[in-house]
Amino acid sequence: MTVDEIRELIALATETGVAELEVQRGDNRVRIRRASFAQQQEIVVAAPSYAAVSAPASGATAPHSAMEAPKEKGEQPQDPTLVLVKSPIVGTFYEAASPEAPPFVRVGERVQPGKVLCIIESMKLMNEIESETSGIIESKLVMNGQPVEYGEALFAVRTV
């Protein structure tokens, strides 16, 4: 569970006005108690015992009330010049063709449509994910070797 994801959950708790928000998925657990209710903001994150679960676990964080409308992971950001590249399949993210090879792209690099950005391994098949826009890689959102779900944001690309 990344710091950004936890920040999003805190925003959610604040926005919806709940006193306490506890999210558990697999080995990840976040508990947020809001300051106005407890004189302190307490955040507990249980460390995942193995890496393979951490991303989908947090990515799948379900709303704790049908009334809440948390931002979906992979949602387009407000900034229209920033485009998110999302995973078209479920699988494992690889930033390079092999453990020894350099990454397909680095942050700050300019990419063109058709440029291979990463590989998603699914059922032993290596699926190359290509860029659909031209722009500069602003951030890489997934760690090498981490599992990703359908629609999960992989890269943010600045298009101007």
Binding site: R25, A52, G59, A60, M67, V90, G91, M123, L125
Partner: protein
């Protein structure tokens, strides 16, 4: 084969059956992984599972029916087994095979058994061999009106002539007596020939007003089989069941014992494992004829759970873990009391177009329209009916139309209350010409 203990199960389904499987896993202390399409992000099965993985867009073909996505989700979450629920991939032999190849236990029968049960002709031939009663008719193509008359005299009128190559009513003739047979045979042959470029016709006993009866089976992986009584599913609209009950008001104790004994042997001979349902038609005289096997859990399984006290979904998981039925079942199977299920569907009662709720809760239009299952239990059928009527009268659904008004009319019907109905029964509750 020593039994294992699953740590984590992926549920390759959505809606109520996904939540039902999650409940069974929670009861067994097993972690759960839900998979969901983008349309189901805020569904209950996502909410109640320990983990949830988005596997694709709303369209089923690219999510709940997409084998690679589901297997990938299983692999990245490290599950021991997959429960397929009903519908979607539950009777897909290829999916069961891919699970096997991926070292993930498929909670259901083996791929070969699923495949055989999927080919209706093979399933019927197999069952007939083992003494399960089959709808009588010609073994193959009917060669002459004389052969037809001879056969029809044996199985009894009415009979039906069907095009061997066909379907959809073309080349089909119902024959009520021997006088009509020769001319209808020629008509059927002619129509079959022009519709399917093969004039081959066969003959089968015709049941105009059948009841739909199904037997619940449980089979472990050590050759043991138990029959958990039957369900009455005759209240159907266009083959969609609206109301089911157990036991059937039409099945006698002797008949139940007889069919159970025959099935126990046949299912064991088939190498069938896990839960399943054996479907029968009942003719007007009360005789049962095998139709097909549904190699999965059914929507209506709770009525059997209520009258037997056996948790069918927990049993499925424990069977898949390699446990024996004697370990799983609390004792000998006994039916007690009566149970009824109403499927509460979202719909417009006038036109049967599924409704959608537009406020906080959304019923995605991509999947089926089942919004709830309401199950009652009573010490006898009358008490179960009374409680269902009361529960429906107190059932509150806002923002959508549901099937509840139709089910209330069915439950209030004197013929229904007397147990006197068949698959045509629903017609009197439908709008328009009967």
């Amino acid at each position: 084969m020593p039994s294992v203990r699953f740590k984590k199960i992926l549920i390759a389904n959505r809606g109520e059956i996904a939540v039902r499987v999650i409940c069974a896993c929670k009861d067994l202390g097993i972690q759960t992984v839900a998979v969901y399409s983008e349309a189901d992000r805020y569904s209950s099965h996502v909410r109640f599972a320990d983990q949830a993985i988005c596997i694709g867009p709303a369209k089923s073909a690219r999510s709940y029916l997409d084998i690679p996505s589901i297997i990938s989700a299983a692999e990245i979450t490290g599950v021991d087994a997959i429960h397929p629920g009903y519908g979607f991939l539950s009777e897909n032999a290829t999916f069961a095979e891919v699970c096997e190849a991926s070292q993930i236990k498929f909670i259901g029968p083996g791929p070969e058994v699923i495949r055989m049960m999927g080919v209706k002709e093979r399933a019927r031939a197999f069952m007939r061999e083992l003494g399960v009663p089959i709808l009588p008719g010609s073994p193959g193509v009917l060669t002459s009106p004389e052969e037809g008359l001879e056969l029809a005299a044996k199985v009894g009128y009415p009979v039906i002539l069907k095009a061997s190559a066909g379907g959809g009513g073309r080349g089909m003739r119902i024959v009520n007596g021997p006088g009509e047979l020769p001319s209808l045979f020629l008509q059927a042959q002619h129509e079959a020939g022009s519709a399917f470029s093969s004039p081959d016709v066969y003959l089968e006993k015709y049941i105009g007003a059948p009841r739909h009866i199904e037997f619940q089976i449980l089979a472990d992986e050590h050759g043991n089989v138990e029959i958990l009584g039957e369900r009455e599913c005759s209240v159907q609209r266009r083959h969609q069941k609206l109301l089911e009950e157990s036991p059937s008001p039409a099945v006698t104790d002797a008949q139940r014992a007889e069919i159970s004994a025959v099935l126990r042997n046949a299912i064991a001979q088939a190498g069938y494992t896990n839960a399943g349902t054996v479907e029968f038609l009942m003719d007007e005289a009360g005789k049962l004829y095998f139709i097909e096997v549904n190699a999965r859990v059914q929507v209506e399984h709770p009525v059997t759970e209520f009258v037997t006290g056996i948790d069918i979904v927990k049993s499925q998981i424990r069977i898949a873990q390699g446990e024996t039925l004697s370990e799983i079942l609390p004792g000998p199977v006994e039916l007690r009391g009566h149970s009824i299920e109403c499927r509460i569907n979202a719909e417009n009662p006038e036109t049967f177009v599924p409704s959608r709720a537009y406020t906080d809760c959304v019923i995605p239009p991509f999947y089926d329209s089942l919004v709830a299952k309401l199950i009652t239990y009573g010490s006898d059928r009358a008490e179960a009916i009374q409680r269902m009527q009361r529960a429906l009268s107190m059932f509150i659904v806002e923002g959508i139309h549901t099937s509840i008004p139709m089910q209330q009319r069915i439950l209030a019907d004197p013929d229904f209350q007397a147990g006197n109905f068949d698959t045509n029964f629903i017609k009197r509750f439908l709008p328009g010409p009967k």
